[in-house]
């Protein structure tokens, strides 16, 4: 597990559901074929109405020019991120697009589990609302040892909720590695 995640942020609002993260018409591609699975990166966050993509200004596509990777590797959002369907294709799509972590005020249960158990992204919860005080394109640094987020330009620091029960699964890599380590799987 990385101790520090540094990068450029993409800011979203509340209730970003899984249809916005990866619209249902794209759920046909293989997730195991490395080449075909790039389609998930290509369409990641393509369901977000453009005016609400890349806040506060909006109008910023997460993926540009048909690429399968985004220039943003951290997503900052409001409450109830990942609500809606159970599709694991959602955290998978973010991972393929290059996202390492999401920081939201809260998550929907299935998205949260999928992110952790599948080892796709780290779903951090912010203690205070932060998606209204930083902008898409800003550089930040997440310190996973101290559970803090540092805004590089202003030097401002925000506390994140410790990962708690899920930390051992994140450290192991995914639910299978965790189960092997703890002797639950052969």
């Amino acid at each position: 597990m990385d101790k520090i995640i540094k990068g450029k942020i993409f800011v979203l609002g509340d209730n970003i559901d899984t249809d916005q993260i990866i619209p249902a018409e794209h759920l046909v591609y293989s997730l195991s074929d490395p080449e075909e699975s790039k389609n998930y990166g290509k369409h990641a966050l393509s369901g977000v109405p453009l005016s609400k993509a890349g806040l506060p200004a909006g109008g910023i596509p997460f993926i540009k020019n048909g690429s399968s990777e985004s220039e943003y590797n951290i997503v900052i959002a409001g409450s109830n991120f990942g609500c809606g369907s159970s599709r694991e294709h959602a955290p998978f799509a973010l991972k393929v697009a290059g996202v390492k972590a999401v920081i939201a005020e809260s998550y929907a249960r299935i998205f949260y589990r999928n992110s952790v158990d599948g080892g796709f992204i780290i779903p951090y919860e912010s203690i205070q609302k932060i998606n209204d005080s930083i902008s898409t394109g800003d550089e930040i640094e997440i310190d996973l040892m101290n559970n803090t987020l540092k805004h590089i330009e202003s030097g401002k620091s925000f506390n994140l909720r410790p990962l708690g029960d899920i930390l051992p699964i994140i450290e192991a890599g995914n639910i299978f590695e965790y189960a092997r380590k703890s002797g639950m799987m052969g």
């Binding site: 249902a24 997730l31 109830n80 809606g84 639910i175 189960a179």
Partner: protein, 431 residues
């Protein structure tokens, strides 16, 4: 301190005498359900993690319903069904209901009930968020992703955090112009789309127990729209009779203790309620139908696990009887059994199917269809800036296809009334 029905079932499945909210437990799973969208990646993860000679923990407990992208020419979607078919053949999966055969059932949540997989007191996990539907049978059921499903497929176990419970009590007699859909939309308006995140939603009260099995499933189905882990209604004689007609499997009925602890209890009197809609673009964007009546529509849609059950079509047919739909109206039976019932069930001697045909509705084959948009050739899919009223469960941006479309969620009565006039219409205008 007593336990809620959800706590009792989870305690039993984790081999404990007592569990408390917040505690993480490992559950023994009774049924794992998957479908064509999440089945292939689940199988692929299972093979990756358990190796070439991977064994299914108990193949009689695995149920597979292709149901999402069935009637499409999309080659990758067709390939996914082919992967399921080959898997079922290779591992001799008896509970596989193949598309293109007489065994095809349609939407998994309704087929689970019809085929006798919903058993009071048991644990069901499925790779679909609306797996919570089965909670109408006094059982614990919830949705998971592919990884968790692959873990279950290999081990028969999964971890879960014991949820806090919220109780929703509906008192009184339900007026004939209301359905369970109005009740659940009302709850969503009150508690919002994250009002029950990680919690159990328990439904109670005489109005709930007066509902048919179909209607109870509408309540538990949309528990996920409030973020709930599960929705649940204690099993009564109505459920017992339904189960007895379908299976001999043993079951156990649990009820919440009188001193069980709830995070919150909401009480409603249904006799004074009126028809509701969820306005674009969220299931919690509640309003009365009266407040939005007259909104011009381009399409009406009656279908899905939420609003494509027999009771939904009986409601819709009552209003559409002898009338013509003023806008394109899609009738999508959730399951093939429901589709067959449309030909058998009659109103004044005319079958529901004929009533819909006479009204000019398009009757589509059973599947998830346009509820979640789907491939571009999906019947009823939202295009451009349409305004749609639908009996389905979600109206987030782009859910039914086009991001520009505005979708209103409502009861089958409200959708049928609106189909007749072409504008959003209160069903009371037809009573």
């Amino acid at each position: 301190m007593g336990m809620t029905i959800t706590e009792k079932i989870l305690a039993k499945a984790s081999g404990k005498a007592k569990v408390e909210p917040g505690e993480n437990v490992w559950l023994n799973v009774d049924i794992l359900m998957t479908h064509d969208v999440c089945g292939p990646p689940t199988i692929s993860i299972w093979k990756r993690e358990f190796g070439g000679d991977a064994k299914i923990w108990d193949k009689d407990k695995l149920v597979i319903f292709p149901d999402h992208y069935i009637f499409t020419k999309n080659p990758q979607a067709n390939r996914n069904v082919e992967i399921l078919r080959e898997f079922a053949r290779q591992y001799d999966i008896e509970n596989y209901y193949d598309a293109g055969t007489d065994r095809y059932k349609g939407v998994c949540h309704i087929a689970l009930a019809e085929e006798g997989y919903n058993i009071p007191g048991t644990i069901l996990f499925g790779t679909d968020s609306h797996t919570c539907t089965s909670g109408a049978f006094g059982m614990f059921s919830t949705g998971v992703g592919n990884t968790d499903a692959a873990f279950i497929l290999g081990t028969g176990k999964i971890w879960e955090k014991i949820p806090e419970s919220m109780k929703f009590v509906f008192h009184g007699k339900l007026p004939s112009f209301l359905t369970a859909k109005d009740l659940i939309l009302r709850i969503l308006g009150d508690i919002t789309t994250d009002g029950a995140t990680y919690r159990a939603m328990e439904f109670d009260g005489e109005a709930v127990f007066s509902l048919s099995v179909d209607e109870r499933m509408t309540l538990t189905n949309m528990a996920i729209e409030a973020g709930a882990m599960n929705g649940i209604i204690a099993a009564d004689s109505v459920i017992e009779n339904y189960v007895h007609e379908r299976t001999n499997k043993p079951y156990e009925i649990f009820n919440s203790d009188n001193d069980a602890k709830y995070r919150q209890v909401y009480e409603y009197d249904v006799s004074g309620m009126e028809p509701f809609v969820a306005k674009p673009h969220s299931p919690d964007n509640l309003d009365t139908v009266r407040n939005v009546q007259g909104t011009k529509l381009t399409k009406c849609y009656i279908g899905s696990c939420t609003g494509g059950k027999l009771s939904d079509f009986v409601s819709a047919a009552k209003l559409l009887f002898g009338n013509k739909a003023a806008v394109p109206t899609f009738v999508v039976p959730a399951s093939t059994a429901v589709a067959n019932q449309l030909e058998i069930e009659t109103i004044n001697g005319i079958s529901l199917k004929e009533i819909f045909e006479n009204a000019g509705c398009v009757i589509a084959q059973s599947s998830c269809a346009a509820c979640l948009g789907g491939p571009m050739d999906t019947i009823g899919r939202a295009v451009d800036g349409e305004t749609i009223i639908s009996t389905t469960n979600r109206n987030f941006p782009g859910r039914m296809g086009s991001k520009k479309a505005a979708v209103y969620l409502a009861s089958p009565l409200t959708v049928a009334a609106s189909a007749i006039t072409g504008v959003i219409t209160d069903p009371r205008d037809f009573f």
